[in-house]
Structures are given as structure tokens and as C-alpha cells.
Amino acid sequence: MKIIILGAGPAGLYAGLLIKKASPSHDITIIERNAADVTYGWGVVFSDRTLASFQRADYRSYEQITNRFVIWDAIDVHYREAIIRCGGHVIASIARKDLLNILQRRCKEVGINLVFKQEIQDLADLGSYDLLIAADGVNSIVRKIYANHFKSRVEPGKARYIWLGAQKVLDAFTFIFRENEHGLFQVHAYPSSGTTSTFIVECDEATWLNAGLDSANEEQSLAYCHQLFAKDLGGAPLLSNNSRWINFPTLKTESWHYQNIVLLGDAVHTAHFSIGSGTKLAMEDAIALATALERQPNLEDALNEYELERKPVVEIFQKAAQVSQEYFETIKRYLGLEPMQFTFQLLTRSGRISYDDLRLRDPRFGDAVDRWFGQQAGKRRTSFAPPPMFTPIELRTLTLANRIVSSPGAQETCEQDGTANDEYLTRIKNCGLSGAGLVMSGPVAVSAEGRITPTCAGMYDTRHITAWAKIVRAIHDKTTAKIAIQLNHAGRRGATRSRAEGLDRPLRQGSWPLISASALPYTPHSQVPREMSRSDREIVHNDFVRAASIAERAGVDLLQLNFAHGYLLASFLSPLTNLRCDEYGGDLEGRMRFPLEVFDAVRDVWPSNKPLSVALSVTDYARGGTGVEDAVIFARLLKKHGCDILEVKAGQTTIESEPAYGRGFLTQLSEQVRNEANIPTMVGGYLTTSNEVNTILAAGRADLCIMDIPLRNG
């Protein structure tokens, strides 16, 4: 087979080497537009898993590569005045120049024809070939010529970065965060050649413009960075190699091959540099392509196999890279975190590394995280501390023994008059017996009209006081938990059958009139609610106040108001469900007005030593609906009005507003609201393991976690 490879980067060279080794009869030519010894970039990193695949693919180059390696296991984070270290990561790097030299030599050894300094503009110049491997980088000419077939998309990153070197030896992957009058700059630096280090500087667009770096030449950029990081560099000079400030382009390609042309490495995909996987993915592509060509006698089958093998793997890395990229693009959000939490958040940003992973890699770091967490929560220094999930938390004068919240969910088996019966008590007590620090009830109606189903629990009648007092006593006497009640008015989601029969299915008989912000039914089959009048508002207002005083008399520890999931108060918040023209509709301020009035009224009667919480859908997940930015504004306001902790929920505003469900699907939202609005949060979203909970807490993504015990065992 006559094979032409375009591009003599690691992907092209390695693919040529491996294909030629497997079938020496192939006639392979590698064409490169640059000279043999010209290279951009400083060092490339590999993990131990990648190295194992290099070892299998070509032992001789593996040996030469590893001989040239700098291997280290630590990550240092320079933030504010602190340097936090975390070990056990095992990362290896090699200067890109050395890697290319080794691969070039190996290619020559096996008889590959290497042509340098030949720029290809027209594929006709290549003559005939049986297979064309395009490893010509992110600006691949081949991909552009057949753009209609490959169907690729390039998305530029929001941040600016420049790839530099430093004449300095590092002993760790080093993140540096420095703020000056222009904004925040961060450095991703790591050892590369044994005498120099790779030193990537990144900042957001505004900072870059403020610093005048848009009009700075290479020398000026270098001088600026050198001055900014003078302390970290300790006088060591920065090096540049045609370095420019750019936005990282993320490339995704639908089809990886067309006829007898196949794309490889950066020519087909890129992943943000912060997860350091570009060269690794490129060389793994080469291994997969060579293997497929060896296994499949038919070229089309081989290229299919290659694409099938690699595409899912690359997509996983691109997803992780995207999370990491967005983290660095929105890093300002985390600047309020203390160094230890900032570091933990940074290390666990992509979701691939958890609390348990870090503990395994560096037990001392794990202990330090626990100690820090305990210290900031308990306001005193100790030598030993439990994991974050078993760290007590104080909310006003209420102390919870740990960070786990257990809830029986919506219980719809009460008496018709809303009285919580023994079955209700047993289930809620079992949540307390689980070991959780807090038991959170499902929605409890503030009035008969506010019930979701006819057999919902209620808190609106003097008879209810006794029933609730009994429940509170059971929790306080028999468990170590405290008890929280969620007050709810169902609004347009009221008068439905039990959820056992499906969600929001209207009652066949015994229904009652519904009210909502506007006269819009929840589902096409639902009753049309009445738009709330002034007297409706007064009634609901008084219902919440009455419920709060019943809760107080029953001895409830924490009260939560439900502003989530499309129920009455939520219906005011979303422009999708609030079409009012009076002062309770319109812009966000108008839409927040009634829920906030209810909150203030409850806060007034609820004892000032007891915490008050709000459950909020922080995004509608629907076009034209509210987003997290709105939730942040509202959360700040709630905090000012005396809200102690926000439960982060999402969606269910309308039946079309559906989250992308999965393990921990609310975590990211909680983190954003918590750190931008600076308010404690509690979050659920199908959390079932202590590892998930510890990771969330230590990273400052929430303060309490609602656990859904694995449903598998009932």
C-alpha cells in the first residue's frame, strides 16, 4: 500500500512508525511543511496509563522516550500567600523537541521516507496514494478541503493564553494565580526538559485588554509576564518561541474518514490544554489506526474500526476538557474560597478526581483537607478531624451533627384532613434513624387549597399541632437528627392524584379550585388556575404565617419555604408562568415581590434563633425561562432578608422544563449559586455515596447534601 502522511508531529510520525513496523511492505512517506528541527511548544505530558500503551506499541521508542522523561508526582497551587501541595499524581513530561527527534529517528530506522519543508496546498501535488493520513494539525488543510464530508466545528475559548517557557527547574505541576490592577492571571507550569519548564499564562479577555496585551508584541508580552510573576520565577527568565496570545480552539469532527483519507490527532479533535491530553490523544489515535489497519484487510473496515474505537474515548476527554476549560474561564467565582478549598476545587474540577482519589494519592493532603474543613466549620483548630460529611454545621443556634440530609420524599398517605398519621411518622423517623444530621419532610401544605393531593400532609389546622409535635418528639427522642419541614402551596400543581399514578394527573372527583400567578394550566390536562387576586395573596400570605407558627409550636428545628418546581410561589418567579401586568409580574424584581413578601412575613414570626431555608429552582431549563444568573440575584436578596441556606433545585417549572438527569445533576448549579451569591446551599440530585458527598463539601459546592440511599435494595 502506498501511504502518505501529512504532518510530522507526534501523531503522524508515530502512525507511520507503527504501520510500517506491522507491514514493512507499505511504502510510507511523511511530508512536513516545517524543517526537521523547528518545533513549537515546550513540553508534553503523559500519564502512566498512556505509557503502558506506548510500551506495547513500540518498545524501542518507549525506552528512548522514558529515558528522556521528567517524572514527578506533585501539584502545587500558588494562591494568595499560600502554596498548597498535593502529591501522588504521577505525571511524566518530555520536551516536544526530544519526542520528535526520537520518533523521526525511529521512522528512518524502519525505512520511512521523511520529507521536510514541503508545504502542500493542493492534494493533487501528492500524486497517487492508497491511503492519505492527515496529521496536519488543528488547521488541517485536508480537513478544510473535504469540509463537507468531515463536518467539523471549531469553538474558540473565551480566555486568552500564551505558551511560554521558563528557564527554571520545577519539581511539581504548578498552578499560579496572581491578581493585579488589570485582573486575574493564572499560570499552568510544569517541568519539561530537565532544565526548563513549560509556562502557560492565561487570563480572561477583559484582563487581557486592560493590560494592553492586545497591542503588545512578543517581547512586551514576555516582559509583562516576567514582571507579574517575578516572585514565582525568582528571577528566572521567560522564554518565547513565536509565542502569541490566542483563544484555545476546541475542534470536534463528525466524520473522521472519507474515502481513503483519514484524520488523526489535532487535525480531527482538540481538548483544552489544561487537562494536558493533546499529544497523548494524538499518539493513541496513531496506535488505534495502526492496529485497525493490521486487523482489517479491507481499508474501509479498518478506518471504520479506528473511528469507532477512538471517537467515544476522545469525546470523554473533550467533555472533561470542556469542564476544565469552563472552570478556568469562570475562575473569578472561586476567588472567595480559602486556599485549601480553592485547591481542592481546582483538583476536582473536571469530575474525574474525587475526595477518595485524592486521599488515596496523598493521605496527608486528605487529612489536611479534613482538618481545614473541621476548623472553618467549628472555628477552632484540631489535630484530627472527621471527613467533611461528618463535620457538624451551625445554622443560627441550630447545630446539625453532620452534613447529610435524609428525606422521605413526598408522602401522600396522610388523613384526608391533612393530619400526619403513624405511617407518616414511621417513615420520617426512619430517615432520622439512618444517621443523617437533618431530616427534611416532603412538601407540607399551608392550607387545604394548597395541597398537592387530597392525602398530603398539612400544617394549617390546630389539630395538626399535636400530630407534628409527636413527630418532632419522635425525631428528637429516638434519633440524633434535627427536623426540617418544607412548607408548600401547590398552586397550579394542586388537586392531583397520588404520584404513584404518575405526575400531575388531575383528580377525577373531589377537586378544588386552583390558583397561580397567571391562569395557565400546568399540563394540557390540568385544571386552569385562577390568576391570584389581591385577596388571594393575603390569604396565602396568612396561610404561610399560620403554618410557621404551628411549626414553631410543634418544635420544628428548621423551616423551608418551597419556591421550586412550579408550585405556587415558583409560579411567580418564572416569566414562563407569570404573565401578570401588575407590580407582581414583569421584570425579575416584580416577579420576586410576592415570594419575598411571604418570606419576610415568615421570617418575622419564625424565631430569630431558628434557621429559615428556601428551596429554589435555580434554572427553568426552558427557553425564555429563568437562568442561574436570575437565581444568583434572588439568592443574594434572600440572604439579605435572612435566609440561612438555599436548597438548589432545577426545572419542573413547566412540563417541558427538564434537567439532564444523572448522578449529581444539581451539583454544578449548587456550586455556581453558592459561590456567586455567597450563600450556604444544600443539594440533592441523586447522591448515593459518601465519596460524592465529601467531594461536594470539600470543594465548596454545597454545605449540606441530600442523599438518596440506593434504591436498589428498596
Binding site: G442, G502, D504, H525, G651, Y661
Partner: protein
Amino acid sequence: MRVGVGLPTGIAGTDGQLVIEWARRVDAGPFSSLGVIDRLVYGNYEPLTVLAAAAAVTQRVLLATTIVIGPLHNNALLAKVAASIDALSGGRLVLGLAVGARKEDYDAAGVDYRTRGKRLTEQLATLRSLWEEGSLSPKTARARGPELLIGGLSDQGFARVARYADGYVHGGGPPKAFARAADKARAAWCDAGRPGRPQLWAQGYFALGNDDIEEAGAHYLRDYYAFTGPFAERIAAGLLTSPQAIAQFMRGYEEAGCDELVLFPTVPDIAQLDQMADILRGLGRDFNYTTD
């Protein structure tokens, strides 16, 4: 976890008498359900018709569609057909619905492919009510009508499970893929505040015997899934061809929380069923199931 077996009605060229005999033997075997799959432009049997026939020759096993392409059907008619099978079988129908993945099926049925999601949602919102009202179908054996499962992997799909259905039915693949989907279904279920947990169904393909039989099975899968392009090869590679593979596959699914795993034949030969029955008994899965 319960284990069911599929009918060979998805394999083009399967003889009608074999289908009936297959159903009869399944009822006597260690299986808890009988599954059928659906597509329109292919040489397979219509799944609900098959289950009606199976209802006549079985007493015990659940009769499950994994899945029927719901939007191809008129809602009232589908409600009536399903209610009829439920009544005929004494309440053994488990109706799995999904949008399917082939545009050609929609074209052949004269249904707009682009509206499939919306159509399924409307269908789910009406089926249960039609059964409960009973105005246009026979009285179902169970007051609420057949058990309803939803298949698919879209985000909306999992929200539909929590809103309308009794559970989720997975389309196939390694246990890990099922585990991810099961997490999504359970997360949606919790978020909706539904009591208990969603029923989780899954499926796999088997071919037992010599190399020729395995190849015939793989050939069928490549053909059946040809519309997925290169992915068909991966599906064929997942074919279960040994007791060891079946044991590990079942364990993987069981650990991921699967309630019912339906294993589909890829070769229309009654010996395949007998071998699968032997394997299940050998693995200690030979107790008698009831439909409660």
C-alpha cells in the same frame, strides 16, 4: 433480578409455528417474561399481534414489548390493542414504548419523524387515562391497565419515565452502559418525588452453539442494526455466545439494579431456547416466577 427471553420474531424468515411453540415452551421454562421488539420496514412480526398469540398459549410469563415504536400508532387504537392483550392474558402485558431510531419506519407509516418526541409524550399522557376510563377498550385485568415502560437515551426520555411510566427499558449494551442509564432513570424518579423506584428492564442478544451458529447470530445483528452504520459491528461483538458470558452479563446487570433482563435469540431455532433454559437452571435461576 428476573430473567426473561425474547421471541425470535425480530429475525426475518422465522416460521410462525416456531413462534407459537417457542412461546409455549417459555411458559414451562425458568423464564419470567417473553419479549418482542419492533420495527416497521423489516421482515419481522408485528409485536402486539405476536403477544396476542403468545397470550393464548401461555399462562404465567409476562408479555413484554421492549419496545413498540409508539408514535407509529394511533393513540386510541394502541390503547385498545394493549387493553385487549392485557385482558386476554389476565394482566400480563408490560408495554414498553419508545420513539425508535429509524426514519424509514416513520416514512412508511406516514408519520412525521420530526414530531416523534412530541407524539410519544401525548401518547403517554392519554394511554393511562383511556385504560382507566375504559370507554373504548375491554376492561383491563388491572384497573390501571398494563404496566408502562419507556425506552430511549435522550434526556427527555428519562423525564418521561418519571412523569408517565412505571419504569425504564434499556436498549442493550454492556452492563456499564445500563448502569449509567439506570442512574438517570432513578435520578429523574427521585426528582419527581415518585414513591418507590422505577422498574428497570434491559435486554441482550445470544447465540449458543458452534461457530456457525455464532456467525449466523452476528450476521443477523449486523443486518438488523445496519442502519446504525459502523456501530452494528460493535453490537454484533456484544453477542453472548457462552454460558460464561451470559453468567457475567447477568451479574453485571443485576449489580446495576436491573429488575428484569430479557435475552433475545439471534438464531430462529428452538434448540437455542432449550440451551438458554439449561444455562439458567445451571446458574440456579430455575425457580418458578409468579406475576405478582
